[in-house]
Symmetry: C2
Subunit: 515 residues, 2 copies
């Protein structure tokens, strides 16, 4: 494998390059264009769906833009590409232009900062720059933003379900290749507390978490020792971090009794045992049985870590099962729920049920020869897929209790914060929305040169992204945050924008016949 | 973002390192261990499931193993890690050992070569090496093999459904971060013909494919030109590769007529137009309508590329719909199906429906102080999760027609190819399997030093991996290859292995009580 060429500027789709060459031939390649990244629908996991998304991935897009260049290596690949007739696909003049100008230095970016709550159809990242380069950017931008937003959203839902309990991300082994790292990052932004993934945790500035696997117990048994020996060995090396995996043989008949024996030894030596982990079987039932045994032995303050194919629905069911049945086990349901910790693997890192966000990157405007923005749109067989044209901004409205009551997509020259005469258009709820305060969501994150990148967005701090996320969630209606059948959040178009969209859609057929 | 630390040897789970330190403390870190990579169940996509998998990802594991090292950078991260009490997690003695010995040079690997058809419970990659390093390898090995096998399998199913039609991979924008590259590689191994992803296509030695997006048509319209102008511009720049996306406005009323007008111009200039692409709406209906128009204009030899949320089921339905309805459109169904090309995005690169292979890496044996292999296993609450112990090999049996009739998992010292007295154990079909020929599936791919890596496996050629895949598929029963409800493929255990597994499972409870 070759490390590099597949991660640089050729991490793009072939048609971006063929279109860029076409723009070059027609002298349109340096014409300023405006593209919007937005998604059309919230993730739908089948039996449940999201009512909001958490935006993530921007810093990795900006980082990629800084590094991606057409070096001789990339150019030689393109030079060697042949078409169906065996002729070169890319001409020397175009490749020469790429060599000189093929960077993202001339591209400006506005974006919703990472960690913020976002909704469908809103421009979330806005790219303005030379048509050819803004086009080549599409694939990498979508790749990073779609995946990290998908995972930050799933992590947020899982964290909402877990309440105050600690949530650990364990998914590296089932992640899609290096998405293990991007996914861990997004999960940490969206609400997960820690991850087992060592390298990316360090990069994010937090310690990774983990204890031991079945293999350690297996190794001790194969060597003629038993589970108890394995646990004792672990306690000897990690006396103050002793969290034992108790299901290698039989959870309640072997694992928990052996763990308790080791915990008692630790206690006698003045150490405080951390807890146990359950990784198979009926987790709710086993946690109640284990809690009773731990309580009876005086270890009611130890944690019980649950893992094995968990997601927000699985966690809800476990909590329900404990609430309904704990009494029968002689355990207090609330106490047990308060000591649970959740280890989340496959279903978070792959966003199981809906493994892709339908985010798109659409041309919204292009400058004419007189430097005026001309709005662009796309009609489609399905109304939902029509692109909202024009140079736009997004605003969020709050009521007097500081709760978000809706977002506004408006033209960039409209000022919903000061213009009290502005009208909103929403297909269902109509007009006349009253708000107490309003804020713009898009901020400039990259000016027309690499030097002007704002460190707050290219190297954002995890705690700041998490704070943004927590603040937005606190201002979001509980109905919108529901795990199943959430209530709809309202996204309005300004009347001016709505009219422009309607007019362009209707005139589109005529426009298309122009030559 | 920091490029490197998250992709090197710290691309692992924290517990691998804490276990490695424990082995170090107990003098077990250099004891030879044997781990198996295998999966338990075929991917299940909900309404349909796979009856075989295509193995992929090995070269990327071997490449990672060659590069991954504990440099001072990694060690300083580990040195800074603190436990719950604020003390260091890793001791200097252990870090010093990692610094000197923390590579995979001493690890041997046997594996099923990439591209081969494989089945559940079979050891597919076997790792033998020092316990500590073999343990640290787990996360990265699983990550690469699980994902690429998942995608090669999905690609194989899609290719099976498409028959002789060309299949293009278009998923980079919805892939999970850099899995776009690993997924494209796996898709190419499993049966996809080309990809739009530029960088990885070049690395795999094939040209990427692509034409233009809606944005090109939108840009021309915004600038006061029309769809026809956009098409004409494309034909001018790419006269011999003219494939036009016809659904920006209205497929049958605007796109196809405009494409035909441009095709006629090309024809007059002596060029052969390539075809059209449909990317929205009811693809079967639109393809019949478009085919009729193209035929009437004398372009019956152009391709019709279909894309938009396709997978094996979507493709089957399109073909059925065409078979049942083409006549009504004045189109020959077989001719139309023969000219179709499929562009597959999200649902292939994310393996939508089942976005993770349940592949695991389990300790199967460990050497005792006398250098004998001691088998290891793991009992579980669920019988399916019991690990098959011991040092094993896998064999494939063929009948006189050279069709695969079953695989055998046997102990490494058993010889099913020559020992005619060997008995097989299968829960359902019992014993006495008769085969005409038999071959071992595992081959040595890495000896105990990096120099001895076989280039056939560390830098395998795409055509060789595809050939292996095609040969295995040709020898697989059509029933096993069915897209829905495939028949079961038989995987046998040798009687000797079966007995060992049963005995170890039963004695496991007793073993666990040893101290």
């Amino acid at each position: 494998m070759d490390a590099g060429i597949d991660r640089g500027i050729l991490f793009t789709d072939q048609y971006q390059l063929t279109m860029a060459q076409l723009y070059f031939r027609f002298g349109l390649h340096e014409r300023e264009a405006h593209f919007d990244h937005f998604f059309r629908t919230y993730p739908n996991y089948g039996s449940h769906r999201a009512g909001y998304c958490v935006y993530a991935g921007l810093a990795w897009v900006l980082d990629w833009m800084q590094r991606a260049r057409f070096t001789e290596r990339e150019l030689s690949f393109l030079r060697g590409q042949r078409n169906l007739k065996g002729n070169r696909v890319f001409g020397d003049d175009f490749l020469s232009w790429l060599s000189e100008n093929g960077s993202f230095d001339g591209v400006r970016v506005l974006s919703v900062p990472e960690g913020r709550v976002v909704h469908p159809h809103e421009p979330l990242t806005v790219v303005k720059g030379p048509l050819a380069m803004a086009q080549i950017l599409e694939t990498s931008l979508l790749n990073h933003l779609n995946y990290q937003t998908l995972i930050a959203t799933k992590a947020s839902r899982i964290k909402q379900t877990c309440g105050k309990a600690l949530v650990l991300e364990f998914g590296a082994r089932r992640a899609h290749d290096l998405a293990a790292n991007a996914g861990t990052r997004a999960a940490l932004i969206g609400g997960v507390d820690f991850s087992s993934n060592v390298g990316i945790s360090h990069l994010m500035g937090i310690d990774p978490k983990g204890t031991h696997a079945h293999s350690m117990v297996q190794a001790f048994i194969a060597l003629g020792e038993g589970e108890l020996s394995a646990f004792r060995a672990y306690a000897e090396v990690y006396p103050d971090d002793c969290l034992l995996l108790v299901d290698t043989i039989n959870t309640l008949e072997s694992g928990v009794p052996n763990a308790i024996a080791v915990f008692e030894e630790l206690r006698r030596k003045g150490h405080k045992p951390v807890g146990i982990r359950l990784d198979s079987g009926d987790l709710a039932t086993l946690s109640m049985g284990a809690a009773k045994m731990l309580n009876d032995a005086g270890f009611s303050d130890t944690s019980i870590v649950l893992s094995n194919q968990l997601d927000e629905i699985g966690i809800m069911r476990i909590k329900e099962q404990i609430e309904n049945n704990a009494g029968g086990y002689g355990v207090d349901a609330d106490e047990l729920i308060d000591r649970l910790v959740y280890g989340i693997g496959t279903k978070l890192i792959t966003s199981s049920g809906d493994p892709a966000l339908d985010g798109v990157y659409k041309l919204a405007a292009v400058r004419d020869g007189l430097n005026r923005w001309l709005p662009a749109t796309k009609v489609s067989e399905t109304a939902e897929k029509v692109v909202i044209p024009g140079n736009k901004h997004v605003w969020r409205m709050y009521n007097r209790n500081n709760m978000a009551i809706g977002d506004i997509i408006a033209l960039a020259d409209e000022r919903p914060d000061t213009d009290k005469t502005m009208r909103l258009h929403h297909p269902e709820s109509g007009r006349g929305m009253v708000f107490d305060s309003i804020e713009p969501l898009l901020v400039p994150v990259k000016e027309q040169s690499t030097g002007a990148l704002d460190p707050a967005y290219i190297t954002p701090r995890l705690d700041e992204m998490r704070k943004r996320c927590a603040e937005d969630l606190a201002r979001l209606s509980p109905g919108v945050k529901k795990i199943s059948a959430p209530e709809g959040y309202q996204v309005f178009l300004s009347s001016k924008l709505w009219k422009m969209k309607q007019e362009m859609t209707h005139s589109f057929g005529d426009e298309s016949k122009k030559v």
